[in-house]
Amino acid sequence: MLARRIIPCLDVKNGRNVRGVKFSADKDAGDPIELAKRYDAEGADELVFYDITASAEKRDIVGKLVRRVSEEVFIPFTVGGGVRTYWDIRTIIEGGAEKASINSAAIHTPEIITQGAESFGSQAIVGSIDAIRRPNPDQIEDVCWEVVINGGRTYTGRDALEWAEELVDRGAGELVLNSIDADGTKDGYDIELNRTVAERVDVPIVASGGAGGPEDMYAVLSEGKASAALAASIFHYNQYSIAEVKTYLAERGVPVRPKIEIDLT
């Protein structure tokens, strides 16, 4: 059976980890490759690199990072953060990443999703949605979600469910739903958001924002109908290991990829 995925997210800037991390003394604490290898060894199913570099050399810096990751870590990985053009996507995919994740740029230029899917396949294009809860003007249901961009600073007036459908129609092969309400709270994912979108579209949903522990991941992967759960700080600061999360999920009947020992020598 297809396993539900646990995905740590690494924030990077100028090719370095944004948040420092304690390793043994011989490891470079700022090197995202070292952190990626640690997550890989712990049983991460995929990695997301979220790049916040804001400079003219951004594409070169990201390209270099992607090539280094693909030489040392042999699990799938996605790169997001400021992906705007065909050339950004191409740099990411040709460097050896599986997927490029596109957020704000798709609101400004939705054709980027279509063009990316036609050039690299839907499996390579992730539509990333930052959503915030709003009272529903139609009063048909209690809540709706509005799409926000630029890290939550700009309201778009777009309904998140309709936007999710458009992204999939344009060729996005997967959606990341990042709840701005839940982000950083550690109070759990927005279960209703994930379930509502998962019931509306056929592509896999990656839940993001709000993870405080294994019970939150269990909730969003069962009740929330998400295919994968993404988290940053609970793994980064060693609150929980990926192995602990997977054990918790497996005990409750959620299919996860177990760790196996294979002799590669």
Binding site: F74, I75, V203
Partner: protein, 200 residues
């Protein structure tokens, strides 16, 4: 030397780097003579079946690939590369494949999210050097909307359940195909690449 066939169907760098990681030298080639000169041939690929066959044809790569297999040189198809080994596909119209294995390529029926994206289990059906040291039930990373239906049971090496049971590893003798991406399937995938480079 392992030749990774480049015919414009997806990124091959990860496959090359994964071989290097397990100590095997692999080069990305796009000329017929390079395939003829190779000891082992790998046919990766993502994308549409029809486009892939067209690209192979216009680059003159069908004959050298088929020749490598008929001469008994080890061959590994990855993802679309597995599907191309079969006789035909129903992906967007009917298309002829390389016809190395009898069978067809079909789209997943309804009831599951398509494409299948993620880690799934492979139940090993028979022993082969390709799978030496790979435990039964190991997980591999899959991304696909179509699957192969083998006409011969003996060509089915591994089976995976995605709503239906389908052949996720197929082949015989020294020509194999895997539906998953061994280059992205951590140690289980790397073991298969190592076995291919050293034992098949």
């Amino acid at each position: 030397m392992i030749a990774i066939v480049n015919y414009g169907m997806g990124n091959l760098r990860s496959v090359q780097k994964a071989f290097e990681h397990v100590g095997a030298k692999a080069v990305i080639v796009d000329r017929p003579e390079d395939i003829d000169a190779a000891e082992r041939v790998v046919l990766p690929g993502v994308g549409a079946f029809g486009d892939a066959m067209n690209n192979l044809k216009t680059s003159g790569l069908i004959a050298p690939v088929v020749r490598a297999i008929s001469e008994g040189r080890p061959f590994l198809g990855i993802c679309l590369g597995l599907q191309l080994m079969f006789a035909e596909s129903e992906e967007m119209g009917q298309h002829r494949g390389l016809n190395i294995l009898p069978g067809t390529v079909k789209r997943f029926p309804g009831g599951q999210r398509v494409p299948q994206i993620g880690w799934n289990e492979v139940r090993i059906q028979r022993e082969t050097s390709l799978l030496d040291g790979v435990p039964d039930g190991s997980y591999f990373y899959f991304v696909h909307s179509f699957f192969v239906v083998s006409e011969r049971d003996e060509d089915v090496v591994g089976v995976t359940d995605y709503g239906i049971d389908y052949a996720s590893i197929a082949g015989n003798d020294r020509a194999f195909g895997v539906q998953f991406h061994p280059e992205k399937s951590q140690d289980a995938g790397l073991k298969i690449l190592k076995n291919f480079a050293e034992k098949v």
